[in-house]
Symmetry: C2
């Protein structure tokens, strides 16, 4: 069976890194008895400027009907307000019900402050429901705008269960002898229920209840208020294994964690639903380096591996991660964000050689 992969480069360096994902898939296919076919799909700000739609229906339909997985690059946001423009990745997550955004952040074990954590971010609700309104202030001149933050028991339960399962799976891998900073699985629930007692309170309680399932008996559960979580993430990052968070806190925490490993250009993610996964590098469209051929392809290559994991091809995924680890451990061919001098192409070639 051929696996059909949607390629959505988006804007900016999306066009420079997504091809790296494709080449890696092509390179590993035969060793794992896999076959891939690809379809290019438009989305992004440029698409919006050309067609006044940032996420064409056709892109969504093709993903739903034809594809087994997808890779998404990055999109640019307009720098001033543009009527009708709305982020295509946020829409895509909702339309395909990709309810989890899984973001592993990891250094090599030899690093001074080894980190090996994964942020499991709820991906469909919170302030990302984007229900906003603007009105004249009742007390006099000036506008007021309001947005809804929505937290549901259903979404909180399934994201916490996903976090618990990921914690168990990570433990299983450790038990095969893989070295790690962790000896026990741990899920840390992030919230701000000291202020938002109903919404974040519901998130906290629902996570606790999902994780009290006997199958998670071996998983430690603790919680951190989001501000304190950011503080602790920076002070003692090796303490964290799996962090589960509502959408917006997850967004913020994952950029914070990326800073700890040295570059956003290293951090992958997967948008995961029950039947579909989209790999997506955590970095943005980076207009400042666009077209220079120096974008770091590693976040995309690892996102490709993550997508494969969620498609059930763990061995192929492990092979890709090992090739990337090899490149990083040697440290000879690195892009400028990592302090190196290599271009995108050289890094991709180096990773391909190691596959």
């Amino acid at each position: 069976r051929t696996l059909r992969i949607g390629l959505i480069p988006g804007d900016g360096i999306g066009h420079e890194v997504i091809p790296a994902g494709r080449r890696v898939l092509e390179a590993i296919a035969s060793s794992f008895n896999l076959q891939f076919s690809f379809v290019d799909l438009p989305a992004g700000y440029k698409t919006f400027q050309q067609t006044s739609v940032a996420l064409p229906d056709k892109t969504v339909e093709t993903l739903k009907k034809e594809c087994n997985g997808a890779l998404f690059g990055a999109v640019s946001s307009p720098t001033t307000k543009v009527a009708g423009y709305s982020s295509p990745i946020v829409a895509l997550r909702k339309k395909l019900d990709l309810y989890a955004n899984v973001r592993p952040v990891k250094t090599t074990l030899s690093s001074k402050a080894p980190i090996d954590l994964v942020i499991v971010r709820e991906n469909t609700e919170d302030l990302y429901v984007k229900e906003e309104r603007t009105f004249e202030a009742p007390y006099g001149p000036g506008k007021v705008a309001e947005a809804i933050k929505r937290i549901s028991e259903r979404a909180s339960f399934r994201i916490a269960s996903m976090a618990g399962n990921i914690a168990l799976q990570r433990q299983k891998i450790r038990e095969t002898g893989v070295q790690s900073v962790h000896s026990k699985p741990l899920v840390t629930i992030t919230h701000k229920s000291n202020v938002l007692s109903q919404t974040d309170g519901l998130f906290r309680e629902t996570c606790r209840s999902a994780l009290s399932d006997p199958k998670f008996q071996s998983v430690g559960v603790e919680e951190q208020i989001v501000d304190s979580m950011v503080y602790k993430l920076f002070r003692q990052p090796s303490s964290y294994d799996v962090i589960v968070a509502p959408n917006l806190y997850g967004d913020i925490l994952s950029d914070g964690a990326a800073a700890l490993v040295g570059s956003l250009g290293l951090v992958p993610s997967a948008n995961v639903g029950d039947a579909f996964a989209i790999g997506e590098p955590c970095h943005g469209s980076a207009p400042d380096i666009m077209g220079k051929g120096i974008a770091n392809p590693i976040a995309t290559i690892r996102s490709t591996a993550l997508m494969l994991e969620f498609m059930g091809h763990e061995e192929a995924a492990a092979k890709i991660h090992a090739a990337v680890d090899g490149n990083l451990d040697e440290g000879k061919l690195l892009t400028p964000d990592m302090g190196g001098k290599a271009g995108t192409e050289e890094v991709v070639e180096d990773v391909l050689r190691r596959l």
Copy 2:
């Protein structure tokens, strides 16, 4: 004229650090021709357990009618949901219209990565309006909770103006010859308008408009999306001078910035309105070290100085900061959070000696 200062220790180590603020004020009074009197005021979770009110009306009334300024320690949050409990500091900020939360984060210049920034956090709205509701999910079993995030043009305008004024004032101090990592004033607006186009869009536009006033002509203005702000804060903290943010992002960013200077126990804040200021250390009630006599008093001592600044006593404030700088530069008497072995009392005595 005697300045009357409300002392609200709150819970936990609040009771150990607030006395440090009082002693510092007593110690500097005569050199600056000032007189202080103090009034102890209850608030916090313990107060709630005793009286079922976390912020007694009497505390608010006394602050409004009798006091010229106040110091607030910290409050504990219940670890499970407790009906009727609501954070007293959040309420106090609103009741006294203390619309700005000013949080300077600074290392000494000799530090490897010198940081000298101030976070100017809107303090009255955003998700902190705490308008929440919970209902049964329309699609089936389970609850849904919603909270309102409210952003007004009025509050955004005044917080941006405050940020602009602080940027100008910092520049004025630099022009007296004080060394700094900055050569020009800069305000960085933090938001997430790529997702929240109306609410955070209004914040962004209103900040831009407030800062386009000719009096801020010399102030550079730039913006950062909040996730990217956290990333950049950690990667290049010395680039930031004044950061202005809506309430929740400001809360998160200030804990992040605190991690950069080594301890939350160093970071002060002031809750500032047009006519009143409450100094408040950024750390919490720290139940884990409560009663051990090792809480770091420096955040409170600097918060006391900040309160004085906003009361118009800049010289007295500068004297206090200089005494704290002396203690830190010498580095002999430090509390355990700073890697030292000194207790609260010894640090306070050392600072008092330097006044």
